[in-house]
């Protein structure tokens, strides 16, 4: 049991190496990729009892030596996030079988995909800031290579933009790490934090972390890489970037302000205020820019900017309920934005259409995909019983509890904007009056089965958890939130 965190990190890397070694036949590569992704998910899922009991797993065996050794450990926060994101990885890997069916360099694509799953689990399982940083950087390099997979001009440009901005983010985190180590002489995680003295150095470190992790998360004003990188990447990779990788930034901020620095320090330097202001700007800016986009994936990318703003807002309120909202929103956003990107990929595969204005009547050509899209879009708006309702509800209540009633108006406004930029796509897809000549009877989606069913499953899960008892994401998120405060 206590070996599981280390195993869950190393296993995907092992599979990635195997994919490179046995890259002669494409079928072997695909099988290895899916099996590797599934086995890693299974290992993470095996830690489920610890998630519910709140136990911390880990052997304490140190690895590597650079300034401080790392040892893999997992508390419920790590397991919760690792579980959700590994699941998204598995679906995206299966989806890739269809989407990347005839793409060049399959061995490169699949090995990177599986390895990046290991890196992202490593971010959560390396139970110290230094280990987090290590896997953060590995993930950055791997996801860069995934973003540029198409190797055309836009992909190279936006990939390089992403790479250099992430390297900058890594250096900001490095700055924070050195200062933190200088202040405390340690970099592990302790609930409640261990730096309790506010000082200028602590402020430098915290804001450096904010810049570094915020960039990763796509927070204003560091969001500019995101709308370029998401559309340029292959669809499954966009789904993972948006659903999983940007969440590691939010995770880093949670770890820093609750497990390294004490809340007193955070309040003393008004870190929470700054984060809140930036989160509000991120939400509004993301929604406003999303409305203007005609390119479907760009619209989804800007929408991700807005949605990560919710998570950051939840973190910035510094209450248990808000933290619950933030954690649950990580979960619900991973599923719904994953679904939307997978739908966008399916549309491109079948019709080659990338712009929203071209999508009139597409619901009749691709019913399953567009129904999935609709479910995810409705979830996005936050209507009960869909997942995002729960997170938005708790965020709203938490705002009232902390006396920030203006934030409720913000949440309502943003939900409205969500509706404004998602519903027209859906309506246009099914009830278009432009091209009546197009068939108005449903035909079957003509994309590979692996794409349809992963998309449909993900869409189903956007709402499915409301009907399952016990609703474990709710229980887990509330356990974690109450453990943090």
């Amino acid at each position: 049991m206590h070996h599981l965190p280390a195993v869950s990190v190393l296993l995907p890397f092992l599979f990635a190496i195997m994919i490179i070694l046995f890259s002669r036949r494409v079928i072997v590569i695909k099988v290895l990729a899916v099996v590797g992704s599934f086995v890693s998910l299974a290992v993470v899922a095996a830690m489920f009892p610890a998630l519910m009991s709140g136990e911390t797993l880990g052997t304490g065996i140190p690895y590597l030596t650079f300034p401080l050794p790392i040892s893999f450990r997992a508390d419920s926060l790590s397991i919760f996030l690792a579980l959700i994101l590994s699941f998204c990885y598995l679906l995206a890997t299966i989806y890739s079988l269809g989407y990347m069916g005839h793409s060049h360099a399959p061995e490169r694509y699949y090995s990177l995909l599986v390895a990046s799953q290991g890196a992202i689990v490593g971010v959560f399982m390396a139970y110290s800031l230094i280990g987090l940083f290590l896997f953060f950087e590995i993930m950055a390099v791997l996801s860069f290579l995934l973003v540029i997979h198409e190797e055309d001009e836009p992909a190279m440009f936006s990939g390089s933009k992403y790479l250099f901005m992430t390297v900058g983010a890594g250096l900001a985190v490095f700055f924070g790490l050195v200062v933190t180590y200088y202040l405390a002489g340690r970099l592990d995680f302790v609930p409640g934090g261990y730096i309790t003295q506010s000082s200028p150095y602590a402020a430098y470190a915290l804001f450096a972390f904010l810049a570094g992790f915020g960039l990763k998360a796509g927070m204003f004003p560091f969001h500019i890489w995101l709308p370029d990188a998401h559309p340029a990447a292959p669809a499954p990779v966009s789904a993972l970037l948006s659903g999983c990788m940007i969440k590691t930034g939010a995770y880093g901020i949670i770890r820093v302000i609750h497990f390294v620095y004490g809340l007193d320090v955070v309040r003393a330097i008004s870190f929470d205020r700054v984060l809140m202001v930036l989160a509000v700007i991120t939400i509004l800016l993301g929604s406003a820019l999303a409305m203007q986009q005609d390119h479907l994936k760009r619209r989804l990318a800007y929408s991700s900017v807005a949605q990560i703003g919710y998570v950051l807002l939840g973190i910035s309120l510094l209450t248990e309920r808000a933290m619950f909202g933030a954690l649950f929103h990580i979960f619900s956003h991973a599923l719904m934005k994953g679904t939307l990107f997978l739908c966008a990929g399916a549309i491109i595969t079948q019709t080659g259409k990338k712009y929203i204005s071209q999508l009139a009547g597409i619901g009749y050509q691709m019913p399953v995909v567009m129904i999935s899209f609709t479910i995810a879009a409705v979830t996005m708006v936050g209507i009960p019983p869909f997942n995002a309702f729960i997170s938005k509800w708790h965020l709203a209540v938490a705002s009232l509890e902390t006396g920030q009633s203006a934030l409720v108006a913000l949440l309502v406004l943003s939900s409205l904007l969500n509706a404004v930029y998602y519903f027209p796509i859906v309506i246009n897809a099914f009830f278009s009056n432009e091209n009546k000549s197009v068939k108005t009877s449903f035909i079957r989606d003509e994309v590979p089965a692996s794409m349809i069913w992963t998309t449909a499953l993900m869409a189903l899960l956007c709402v499915g958890f409301a009907f399952i008892y016990p609703n474990w994401p709710v229980i887990a998120a509330s356990n974690i939130a109450s453990a943090i405060f």
């Binding site: 140190p62 590597l64 030596t65 650079f66 300034p67 060049h104 360099a105 230094i130 940083f133 290590l134 950087e137 390099v141 540029i148 190797e151 055309d152 001009e153 190279m156 390089s160 790479l163 250099f164 390297v167 900058g168 890594g170 250096l171 900001a172 490095f174 700055f175 050195v178 200062v179 180590y181 200088y182 150095y201 430098y204």
Partner: protein, 491 residues
């Protein structure tokens, strides 16, 4: 080992073995490449085997000064201590790696001359770090610098010759400054040997003169702004093995000299009193920013690497002149880290140059499909240079950063980060364009292996492993040594 009572013979014998071997190469040189490589390699290995057993002795903190009554009036002396031995071992090891590379490198003519001088320079650089006083160091330093010009001028083209003369005149200028400084030190202190805490007792015009003299002499070797002018030209013109020798070994003797005079001639108490070290620190910061910016601007691969070397040596100088233990650990560790990183990059650049004749960065697009092995090693070294964990340079930057905070200078940490960013900006595009991009698409089919001579591939692999390996193990031996060296200076 009962080294305290017996006089250690190893330093002198090691250098004599190396010098004899270089003479021997000159005598039999035209007989065959393989024999030359074998002789060089066995001489260097012998020196390694002589010096390596001394490491437990010096790690325990023992110091021994060995004095020979030759070279009147002061005599020749060696000093066996941790700093000297560890640098000597590093130089010998990298020299050994480089010997195999040079053996396989296609030099057009004058191989005998090149290989002889190559070994001679290596021997002198080992002498520099083992020397026990300022005068012995001067002797080896001069011999090293002056003979290095033979390696630079190797191609004998018009630009080569002007680059060499630039190097030569600057070196001689440095020597003159060293000589003046030597006289000033002797005038003030009456002796020239290293001593803990320094031999200069008071600040004053003569002391300042000595300080300036040493900084000019060593700073020039270390490529410190504004004395770096020889470097880009010499790097652009000299054959790759000579450039690598300079980067991995010769530049480090400059940094070593600054370290020595800081702690063993002037002493940190005196320097803190008069705060002259701050001038050097400012120059180091300028070197870092200037070197990185120039590297970013230039399109010639070798020149880019040269400018990057100016910046990297700035890190080491910065680590020395911050006068805090962590920073010194970082600086000393960076000597090793930079040798591995820049060695890999230069050897890869040399391999590209030898194989394709391309040196302009714009021409290197798609080179990764023709020389995948070389470019993979290049990419790893490039990532190391940016300071990604767990590679070497992360560790040195980490300690430099801690030292900067210790000195109350968080801005210096920001300088390091800006430079890292620039490193990313000028190395990573080379690696990216080598493998990816639309115009490389049709190259995927034509993937061919590098077909480098064994010696070249082997030496590139060894140095690449050196970039990666030390952060991965349970114990990081170079870091432990760097810490022990620092502990010897800050007691």
């Amino acid at each position: 080992m009962d080294g305290l009572t017996t006089v250690l013979w190893q330093p002198a014998v090691s250098i004599i073995v190396l010098l004899t071997a270089s003479l021997f190469i000159w005598v039999i040189g035209e007989k065959g490449e393989k024999a030359v490589t074998a002789i060089s390699a066995s001489a260097i290995t012998a020196a390694l085997l002589f010096l390596a057993p001394l490491s437990p002795y010096v790690l325990a903190g023992h110091v021994q000064v060995i004095r020979y009554s030759i070279l009147p009036p002061f005599g020749l002396s060696f000093r066996v201590e941790l700093l000297s031995i560890s640098l000597a071992l590093l130089f010998l090891f990298t020299g050994l790696v480089l010997t195999f590379y040079t053996g396989a490198y296609p030099l057009e003519s004058g191989k005998r001359r090149f290989r002889t001088v190559f070994l001679f320079v290596l021997a002198c650089s080992v002498g520099v770090v083992l020397a026990g006083d300022l005068l012995s160091l001067f002797l080896f330093f001069e011999a090293m610098s002056l003979s290095f010009f033979i390696l630079v001028i190797h191609n004998r083209e018009q630009e080569t010759i002007s680059a060499t003369f630039k190097f030569l005149y600057m070196t001689i200028g440095g020597s003159v400054m060293y000589f003046i400084a030597l006289a000033a030190v002797f005038n003030q202190a009456g002796e020239l040997a290293w001593r803990d805490g320094g031999i200069m007792t008071a600040g004053g015009p003569y002391t300042l003169l000595a300080f300036i003299g040493f900084v000019v002499a060593f700073g020039m070797k270390a490529g410190m702004f504004p004395l770096h002018l020889w470097m880009p030209d010499a790097y652009g013109q000299a054959p790759a093995p000579a450039v690598t020798l300079s980067s991995m070994i010769m530049l480090k003797t400059g940094a070593y000299g600054i370290l020595r005079i800081t702690h063993h001639i002037f002493g940190i108490d005196l320097l803190r009193d008069v705060s002259w070290h701050n001038y050097v620190l400012v120059l180091a910061v300028i070197s870092i920013l200037y070197g990185s910016s120039c590297a970013f601007a230039t399109r010639d691969l070798m020149r880019r690497l040269a400018y990057s070397g100016i910046a990297q040596l700035g890190y080491i100088t910065l680590g020395i002149t911050m006068l805090t233990p962590d920073a010194l650990t970082g600086g000393v560790y960076h000597i090793m880290a930079h040798a591995m990183m820049k060695g890999t990059l230069l050897l890869c650049a040399g391999a590209i140059l030898a194989k394709t004749g391309k040196r302009n960065i714009d021409d290197l697009a798609g080179i990764g499909w023709k020389m995948p092995f070389t470019m993979i090693c290049f990419s790893i070294a490039a990532l190391t240079a940016v300071g990604l964990p767990p590679m070497n340079i992360f560790i040195s930057k980490w300690h430099l950063g801690l030292g900067a905070l210790d000195a109350g200078q968080p801005l210096l940490l920001v300088v390091l980060l800006i430079s890292s960013m620039l490193n990313a900006a000028y190395y990573l595009p080379i690696a990216i364009a080598a493998f990816f991009g639309e115009r490389n698409h049709d190259l995927h089919e034509k993937l061919s292996w590098d077909r480098l001579p064994l010696g070249m591939s082997l030496s590139i692999v060894v140095l690449t492993v050196g970039c990666l390996a030390f952060g991965l193990g349970q114990i990081n031996i170079p870091l432990q040594w760097a810490r022990a060296i620092t502990a010897g200076f800050f007691y």
